[in-house]
């Protein structure tokens, strides 16, 4: 049959049509133009198909797009460009697909929608003071230094009120081959940025979901507040608050709107509840020192500039669950531990100063074993005991705090005596 249609053509066309129909039934293929929705268990957000950033980044970095797609920011209509696009004068910006963007938005961008929060952060020790603890004032521009001087009462100051920011000796000894992976990683929460702003909101508000529930959980703070020199996370784990969180936390209402949080939502507090959340009669704050009364991190603890207001604010948070007597008892006990630690640290520090004064050891920090020991004494054990006393972690007061502190003090005393004896023998 010369005019017969070849079987390849018949099968080819038929198969193509059938398969296209099948695909159409399952995917709506020819209707086209649809971008698949991104969904998780509870939320469903559809990106605007015209969103240029999501169009490419769904392929390049799908995790980021998926995280943002289910975020409250996306639901509020915030677009990638709202945070990432900066003005052409911004030194952190670069050209990218027709936009002038910054890869890492700074508080300057966050402040466009969250001015109070960034201002509170700027005034806190999470801001500039945390970076100054490493590098002093070296990395701050004159404008930023002026801002710190005028706006952060909690920045370290001498008796005359002048900022006493000096470079950290250990930071200098370890140098750039270590510190970016070590101290800097956490202390960069207050790093000065090239755009003039200070700090990094993303340290706590992890990208790109910016989850309220996540930032209320202790693990966020525990990213940095852990380990022998500031074991708040471990202390919390040991405390009744921490045990309740671990055993009951999954039932708590983590997504309650800021300012509406009560003990019904969270029957026990996390770090955020006590220190920054709006709770009871306290409003939300991003000044992490606002409810504190003492510089517990210091070798010798002194009062904070806002000690009275700070303590009253914290007590009012405690009073959501505890009686006034109970709260006062905790504070009295903790203040007593702090005084004890102060006394012992001063004793050790007098011994070291005496050795330096008599020319037995060098003034240079971390040059002798005894200076390392004296540092551990307050930096590890003194701090642990003080933090734990206020946070109700008895094991950290006793066995990770006071006991090793006393042991270290004894070692410092014995070693100082040996050094003096050796020095005398050498002088003869």
């Amino acid at each position: 049959m010369p005019n017969q249609i070849p079987k390849t053509l018949i099968i080819g066309v038929t198969t193509t049509i059938v398969i296209l129909l099948v695909i159409y039934l399952f995917t709506g293929l020819p209707s086209g133009g649809e971008i698949p929705t991104i969904e998780n268990n509870t939320n469903k957000v559809v990106f605007d198909p015209a969103d240029k950033c999501a169009t490419c980044h769904r392929r390049v970095s799908p995790d980021i797009v998926n995280q943002f797609a289910v975020s409250t920011m996306a639901r509020a209509g915030v677009k990638c460009t709202d945070c990432h696009v900066v003005d052409k004068a911004n030194p952190m910006g670069k050209e990218h697909e027709g936009f002038f963007i910054t890869v890492s938005p700074t508080p300057k961008q966050c402040a466009k929608c969250h001015p109070s929060e960034t201002r509170q952060f700027d005034h806190s020790r999470h801001g500039a003071p945390s970076w100054m603890a490493l590098s002093g004032f070296d990395d701050f521009s004159p404008e930023q230094q002026k801002f710190v001087n005028q706006n952060i009462p909690e920045a370290n100051r001498g008796p005359n009120g002048i900022i006493t920011a000096t470079r950290n000796s250990l930071f200098d000894i370890e140098g750039p081959s270590v510190t970016p992976a070590a101290c800097q990683s956490c202390h960069s929460i207050g790093k000065p940025n090239a755009d003039g702003s200070i700090g990094n909101c993303n340290k706590c508000h992890l990208r790109h979901e910016f989850s309220l529930a996540q930032v209320r959980k202790p693990e966020i703070c525990g990213q940095c507040h852990l380990g022998p020199d500031h074991p708040q996370m471990e202390i919390y784990d040991e405390s009744a608050h921490g045990v309740m969180y671990k055993t009951e936390g999954e039932k708590w209402n983590w997504d309650q709107k800021p300012g509406r949080l009560t003990t019904q939502d969270m029957p026990a507090p996390t770090c955020a509840t006590c220190h920054i959340s709006g709770f009871g009669n306290q409003g939300t704050t991003h000044d992490v020192g606002q409810r504190l009364s003492k510089f517990l991190f210091a070798a010798v603890t002194t009062d904070r500039p806002n000690k009275i207001e700070g303590r009253e604010a914290m007590k009012s948070v405690c009073s959501n669950c505890h009686s006034e007597n109970f709260i006062n008892k905790i504070y009295t006990r903790a203040d007593s531990v702090t005084s004890f630690v102060n006394k012992k640290v001063k004793e050790a520090s007098n011994i070291i100063e005496g050795l330096v004064k008599d020319g037995i050891i060098t003034k240079k920090p971390f040059a002798t074993q005894i200076s390392f020991d004296a540092f551990d004494l307050w930096h590890y054990y003194g701090r642990s005991a003080k933090f734990a006393a206020y946070m109700q972690g008895p094991d950290f007061v006793q066995w990770h705090g006071i006991y090793p502190l006393l042991k270290e003090l004894n070692k410092v005393k014995e070693d100082a005596k040996k050094l003096r004896d050796e020095h005398k023998r050498g002088a003869r």
Binding site: T8, L9, T15, T16, I23, G32, R59, V60
Partner: protein, 292 residues
């Protein structure tokens, strides 16, 4: 010697013997596929470390094809090395598919359309398997009048269930099939439009035509005509796709951005259709009988 006819439709003079031409074809394919994979894997700096596997493999595989293609009759040692490398290539593709599959399934624990579309391309690594399989067959010779009896230089004779030509046809058919599936998935990323459907529709049609021939014991001259023009059209579709992808990557800016080339519309991907079209023609090319 190298005069061939493609069915009854065209007489062509090949620059060299068909098997050697196939080996060069496989070598070039391995090379460009390797470059393509290197660019794709460079997006995430070759992390995890096993993203280096295809990068280490492709130069060796390509080199083996080129070296063997220079030998009129490959030596036993070269043939063994070549077979080993091509077998590794098949394995690289299969393992790669498993890795891609794992990457796509891992985030949610089940297959979702969004992850299928925007995650690692599941079928893409099979390109290595397909090309390597082609490289494996390219050094074999079929014993005259004994379909499926394959002579491997230096290693002996093996009996395959189907003829060598059918093997090639299946490879081309499945290649078109995989391309059609990949087009369907990839083009879903930015929404379908009429010209994006060309690749899908054409891929399905070409698959059907080639597989029909592969399954048939007999076909008419008209079927040969359909096959021939389907392959020619595949070459055209590939070049058109290259133009569309390039145009998308230029994004109206007139500037070539490596970033866009890597993550937006992969410029070389549509040329796979051209590649398969050419291969489809080469494999049916038969040595012309000399007039006595």
């Amino acid at each position: 010697m190298n005069n061939v006819e493609i069915f009854h439709l065209a007489n062509v003079r090949l620059p060299m013997e068909k098997n050697r031409l196939l080996l060069i074809f496989v070598g070039i394919n391995l090379f460009f596929t390797g470059i393509d994979v290197a660019l794709a894997h460079s997006i995430n700096s070759f992390i995890p470390v096993y993203e280096w596997i295809p990068i280490y493999f492709f130069p060796l595989g390509a080199m083996s094809c080129f070296i063997v293609s220079f030998q009129p009759s490959p030596k036993k040692s070269f043939a063994i090395i070549h077979i080993a490398l091509m077998s590794i290539g098949i394995l690289v593709g299969v393992i790669g598919m498993a890795f891609h599959m794992n990457a796509v399934l891992n985030p949610l624990g089940h297959l979702s359309w969004a992850w299928l579309v925007f995650g690692s391309p599941i079928l893409a690594p099979l390109a290595f398997s397909g090309i390597s399989l082609l490289g494996l067959y390219a050094i074999t010779e079929e014993v005259e009048n004994s379909p499926g009896v394959l002579k491997i230089p230096g290693l002996g004779i093996f009996k395959a269930p189907i003829s060598r030509d059918k093997h090639f046809l299946w490879l081309v058919g499945l290649g078109f099939g995989a391309s059609a599936v990949t087009s369907t998935i990839d083009h879903a990323q930015y929404g379908y439009s009429v010209y994006k459907l060309i690749a899908i529709v054409y891929g399905l049609f070409a698959t059907s035509v080639v597989i029909t021939i592969a399954l048939s014991n007999q076909w008419s001259k008209k079927d040969e005509l359909v096959y021939f023009w389907t392959m020619i059209a595949a070459i055209v579709v590939g070049v058109m796709g290259f133009g569309f992808h390039l145009s998308a990557d230029l994004a109206g800016t007139g500037n070539i951005s490596l970033e866009r080339m890597l993550v937006f519309a992969p410029v070389f991907a549509p040329l796979l259709y051209s590649d398969l079209g050419m291969l489809g023609l080469i494999i049916v090319a038969k040595q012309r009988r000399k007039m006595i």
